[in-house]
Subunit: 318 residues, 2 copies
Amino acid sequence: MVENTPGEFYLPTVLLVGVGMIGGSLTLGLKKRNLVGRVIGIGRSRRNLDRAIALGAIDEIAESIVEAAAEADLIVLATPVGAMADLMLKIDSAMKPEAVLTDVGSVKHGVVGEAKDRLRKSLSQFVPAHPVAGKENSGVGAADPDLYIDHKVAITPLAETSDRAKELVETMWRAVGADVISMGVEEHDRVLAMTSHLPHVLAYAMVHLFSSAKDSEKCYQMAAGGFYDFTRIASSDPVMWRDICKMNQHQLLEHIQGYQNTLSHISSMIESGNESALQSLFSDAREARAVVTEKRKKVVSDTDLIPRAKRVRQQVNR
Amino acid sequence: MVENTPGEFYLPTVLLVGVGMIGGSLTLGLKKRNLVGRVIGIGRSRRNLDRAIALGAIDEIAESIVEAAAEADLIVLATPVGAMADLMLKIDSAMKPEAVLTDVGSVKHGVVGEAKDRLRKSLSQFVPAHPVAGKENSGVGAADPDLYIDHKVAITPLAETSDRAKELVETMWRAVGADVISMGVEEHDRVLAMTSHLPHVLAYAMVHLFSSAKDSEKCYQMAAGGFYDFTRIASSDPVMWRDICKMNQHQLLEHIQGYQNTLSHISSMIESGNESALQSLFSDAREARAVVTEKRKKVVSDTDLIPRAKRVRQQVNR
């Protein structure tokens, strides 16, 4: 589905800050499609960076973030969100005026707030982004050049963001197969609280209840497909989810309250034996889920990708 | 893993009452392994029964439940639970004294109560059972002879149930690949409320909240893997789940309350910013789920199957 279109869109030098599964999948994806010259990586663990070189996710290791930032055409912040503020301060003074900065954080208002504080020179070059793709495994060893095919990437451009920077980031994500959706910062955090953060918290709560049940041994034995599918996401990284709960506290708490109200409503239907109301609620939910299933089948079309890639290439290589 | 062991365990005539995915998968499984002579089917829809013959799930259609029950060595009630009481009354007076009766209901206390009322002659021949296997599709067209491989089947024998009847039903389920677990009736309903009924209600609640959210269109667009995995089970049959909510009302309401308490607890951790408590709760949940994953990998071993099959064969063919 994604054509290899050398020359249409090309990034001579990319700096990847934080070389894990998310960032590594992006750079591997760009390399596989011949859309990048060289990738410089920087990170905390030398061992992990050596592994990233061996896997081809990066080509070289930066000695200094300031020097590497000065060489890059695109800088991708793929660290935990908590580490981004300091990095932005260093990058701001170093990056080229035509370069573009983006990130991959799961919650956007915090990153955007930091960017407004830290990016004194380069705020218009910054495009906040969030690739919505997770796997149970993390680390660069789990990176996959095709991870983003048919996955969503939300971008939340600021009023200050230049059209050129926005288009470059959009084109890059489309080039590795993603479906890019533009939205407001608050809207992003509210929507993701519903589609991702709330389900994770609910799955963690289910497993917690389950393992503290008085029949917990028999429950373990009988754990059926229902429970199993339902709690798959409770295998995600606890530290990441702790941070997301903190960063998106407000929106998440609002959705948890909404969920508790919904559950109380269903509970009272069960208690009062209101079978017709239950059945129609269950039917509506099944239909709503079928709509989501249909929407997920929508694929990124090349007709959308190619003209954008051409336009951006003209801008990048001008 | 399941050996074809002709002669070890053999049912000359099986009567399947209610020919859908669950019952059809059992009879197809028995036939595939040459463990049954003929299968008589009875059901409400002639068209469905003709389809079951074409698929090989049954060999012939019963004209009368009483006549067919009189011929069967094993009778399997695979109808909705609500229909079982009347059927039991008819079967009780008709079935052979050495025949065995079982069912596949998802909630056991109701079926057991009906059995104690209705099975005046044959209560010792009845083995309540619950194969825990579901698919998104229903109907005999979705039947699969290998559906039960590595799936759990709970049996909840009564004080009155004969050892012979219990062993026959256990051996039959093991012969089609299932992992049979014996437990009490109340225990079954409480455990299944936790492992299956609660997760289904929670998934329905999540989809309901989602589709009534103010950003519902953007939520549909962004629905990520987390949401998607989490709500898979909300595609199950609404009528079946309405009935399960009714039949297991008491245990389910208790677990919903427990879940609400757990969620309130997590919510207050998020609100108060208790990061270490959140992280350890998330870590514990991840570990607990890993334990379930390990337990699910346990396979049924032939060493367990063969000796039992031999014993039961001696009893069946005495």
